[in-house]
Symmetry: C2
């Protein structure tokens, strides 16, 4: 089934205890697309400014990623983010953010993408996400991401978005902030009351949690020893998850669990390099190998 992502394309500058990367490719839809393309074709919708060097999208062009939805907007500048990770690298400290073109109107969905079945709305203003969702009245599954800024500043718009999507992916701190619940299972159940049929709560190194009306699942993160740069980890998780769901054309509980496991595995690769370097090099065999290992690690009688 066809899969589409709307989200940011950006230029990142990242500092971690392992080094720095200046002016590298980033953005939610970039990580998502590269990850999802390991499973299926991906339609990418995003916007950059005319300062953007399109050759930076080289790693995407080599994959099953349709970039006809990437708009280069004349007179605008590309989104830029500068961040720093310290200590256990669980959270980035944003040193500088220039929304630039992301603060303007959203990109157009190309007409030839209108028939897409599986849609992922990466994090942006919830009104914009809802505007995208409306353009896919016949989609089989629409899943959104969100973040603390929208939970805090646009609660009403976010509620409207949540009543228009079937799935929500967010991290543990965001789930607690959105629902006011400390217990993550309770938080997940509260999210279901807001509209989605399932909530997937990402817990970083501690794995992920699926809460659905008829299911509850706890998955470990793949325990990699090599954390170089966690940027894009969440979008990579979502990409592999949605890519797998699109290939299966199902999102029943068991398929969601398998999809989350693929998300966890591909995310374990992305953190092993700066930017998309390691992610772009992942193979199907790499995924299978780590999946078998994760299953062995999580097994108990």
């Amino acid at each position: 089934m066809s899969l589409l992502v709307t989200g940011s394309i950006g230029i990142d500058s990242i500092e971690t205890p392992h080094g720095c990367a200046e002016g590298v490719l980033g953005g939610s839809s970039v990580y998502f697309s590269l990850s999802a393309s390991l499973f299926t074709e991906v339609r990418l919708v995003g916007v950059v400014g005319d300062d953007f060097d399109l050759s930076m999208l080289g790693p995407l062009e080599e994959k099953r990623i349709d970039t006809r939805g990437v708009e280069v907007r004349a007179g605008s500048k590309t989104f830029r983010w500068q961040g720093k990770y310290t200590g256990a690298m669980n959270e980035a400290e944003t040193l500088d953010v220039q929304l630039n073109v992301l603060a303007e109107r959203g990109p157009e969905i190309p007409p030839e993408f209108g028939d897409t079945d599986y849609i992922f709305l990466a994090n942006t203003h919830p009104a914009l996400q809802r505007g995208f969702a409306r353009q896919f009245p016949n989609a089989k599954l629409i899943v959104a991401d969100t973040m603390d800024i929208w939970i805090n500043t646009e609660p009403d718009e976010l509620r409207r978005l949540l009543s228009a999507v079937q799935g929500l992916v967010l991290n543990d701190a965001e789930a607690r902030l959105l629902t006011g619940q400390g217990n993550l299972v309770t938080a997940g159940l509260e999210i279901l009351k807001m509209g989605p049929r399932f909530a997937i709560i990402k817990k970083g190194e501690h794995g992920s949690l699926l809460v659905a009306h008829d299911d509850l699942c706890l998955l470990p993160a793949y325990p990699t020893l090599k954390t170089i740069d966690p940027t894009g980890c969440g979008d990579t998780f979502a990409g592999a998850m949605m890519g797998y769901l699109a290939t299966q054309d199902r999102h029943d509980p068991d398929t969601l669990r398998s999809a989350m496991a693929r998300g966890s595995i591909v995310a374990s690769f992305v953190i092993e390099s700066f930017s998309v370097e390691a992610l772009a090099a992942v193979t199907t065999e790499d995924i299978e190998r780590r999946l078998e290992r994760l299953q062995a690690i999580a097994r108990f009688e």
Copy 2:
């Protein structure tokens, strides 16, 4: 196989967002014994002062717990701890601690306990733990717990202890403090270099991690919705784990995994009440039911 625990017996006063409990039974060896007794007989070694009301041990007397190793020391006072949990209740704030008899010499191991096969050294001064360990030269398995205070103040004594035990159980913050490693798998591997054949790292609501020379396992915590009082959770985990190992008389990787799962399950009950109330009421059927549920929750293809 026979199982023995050395640890504290105390009187706790606890405050949580759900209420207060004043002057209730507590202490590591109490939680451990009650938990382990769900699987096998337990020999309890600890010391209280002559201010201790022995009828408080009523819940233990009803179980398979041999309390002949409980010394009532004339002229001494019982260990008392006052703590408070707030927010997500992940960590207790100690409001007051009176070591009293725990600051004196350790309790005697009764001669009839000298043949014990499985030994758990609950948290105390590592020199005292090593002194206990020495009294069981023929034990099949000796496992210790420790905490931040000993890692910080008695690193040399702790190293000596670690070279004398086969297993170490500690929480994630302690594992990081002990090894200087942020990655918990790396921390576990560092602990193996210090002597133990396996390290079990408890991550609270995020489950537990087993690191052994020939195994790595990540288990979720049982996702209970009802957290009333987390006191004793770690000792309860250790009790069920050691109780299960003693019944199996093995500690190979698969048996350790099963033992950890039992630890996770029994710990999920203890947090559902103040003090040992819920723990004392757990049945074998309760454990089986949650174990099946945990296996279903952790399953993925």
